[in-house]
């Protein structure tokens, strides 16, 4: 069945203790028909990548408020590649200064969603860009 839902992992790397935004996004994507695995706060890149692997997700969404994105996000991307998950789409959201976006894109991030992004926009992007499923 090719119409099965797209599976998304939403994780919060880093040390900040707020996951309201991540939870809102998780529920929003559910309402858009996605299957969303939520892993909670304070996730290390290793935990995130292992979860992505076990869950066989199509998309990894990283929600970051702590400002540690320039170390955490590239680490997630390289671990995904190391473990054979090159086809998994990585997107980030949260508070990321414009000048850091090119570095994230270079690391392999497909999209950086700013605070103003609507859930519909995120959903449309993921539908158009996540890997083909069989």
């Amino acid at each position: 069945m090719t119409d099965r839902p797209i599976k998304v992992l939403i994780a919060k790397p880093g040390l900040d203790g707020h996951d309201r935004g991540a939870k809102v996004l998780a529920r929003g994507l559910r309402d858009e028909g996605f299957e969303v695995v939520y892993t909670g706060l304070r996730q290390t890149p290793e935990m995130i990548v292992t979860a992505a692997l076990q869950e066989d997700v199509d998309v990894v969404g990283l929600s970051i408020l702590s400002g540690a994105h320039l170390t955490l996000v590239p680490r997630v991307c390289s671990l995904l590649r190391e473990r054979g998950m090159d086809d998994v789409l990585v997107a980030t959201g949260g508070i990321i200064p414009d000048e850091d976006v090119p570095a994230l894109k270079d690391a392999g991030v497909a999209a950086v969603f700013g605070p103003g992004t609507t859930i519909t926009e995120v959903a449309e992007f993921l539908r158009a860009n996540s890997r083909p499923r069989d």
């Binding site: 994507l29 559910r30 892993t39 909670g40 935990m47 979860a51 869950e55 998950m85 069989d134």
Partner: protein, 364 residues
Amino acid sequence: MARTQPGATPSAADELCDAALSGDRRALARLLTAVENRTPLAEAAMRRFYPMAGKAQLIGVTGPAGAGKSTLVAALIAELRRAERPVAVVAVDPSSPITGGAVLGDRVRMQAYASDDGVFIRSMASRGHAGGLSTATTAAAALFDAAGFDTVLIETVGAGQSEVEVAATAYTTVVVEAPEMGDEIQAIKAGLLEVADIIVVNKGDRPGAHRTAAQLRAMLADTPREARPGRPSPKHPDVLLTTAPTGEGVAELLAAIDARRSAEPSTADGSVRLKRAEAQVWAVLSDRLHERIRALEGPIEEVAVAAQAGSGSERSVPAAELLRCVAANELDPYTAADRLLEMLTGTGRPGTVFANRRARKDPT
């Protein structure tokens, strides 16, 4: 009919199975996806894996939302890992019936064990297919089993019929309850109690936990020893107290689970296995039937014409046309089902459908 699809050619499937069996977790994860989506790859995998399975202990963990099932599963993982026992978890959360989406949040409580290679956690959305959920979880458990995970925990919310079914197909069914859910004890009595091998009153740190456990024990003492006609024979589950976040009572719970394994070997095991086998074969059979009935589809317009003429046309009637007749109350569902079966087995006389259709106006 060609069964192979891109990405699921026999050799690619074999390679993936080989990899999964030799410990490649990504390969195993991909096979689990195939099982969930019921793709041809899943069939190939089941043919390979199923004969190697049958050793693992399947434990269903069910109960109302918020009772602490995921936290308790995490505590069981910790206990199992202390003994270096590999453990796999299938955590099921409901899909939205409207959008088909789901939030799978059970992992939050288990993430601490995610980086341990002896632990594999997989979330699954229930996807609302009747009977299909237990097929998917049973197949997933078989893959884990063959891949060497000798304990498989399956968490479901004990709300819907299919979730209870999942729990019932496990070897040991643990029903988790929490204090202050007082009114729900009656509800639990009706559905979940029948499938419980062990009842856990979790949140043992909360006031009322001991009272809830005592109430449950009293209620169980009243359960008749003999089966009433037409009902499954009543189980007499142990009632245990746990506090999942601290791990209190969890070693005892695991001991109770293990004791069931060694205490009643062949008979109970045999009947649960048979039940599980029956459910699986029926689910596959129903999939196969659907597939073949859909393949009966013919040119709709011609059949519609034949229908209007009321002629005993020899043409086969498409399933869709039969459904329309049932929807319009022109044909009863029993006759429609019989016709479809006859058409499948080649004994059908398609024209008779419309004989019935005209005859339905007569009071019988």
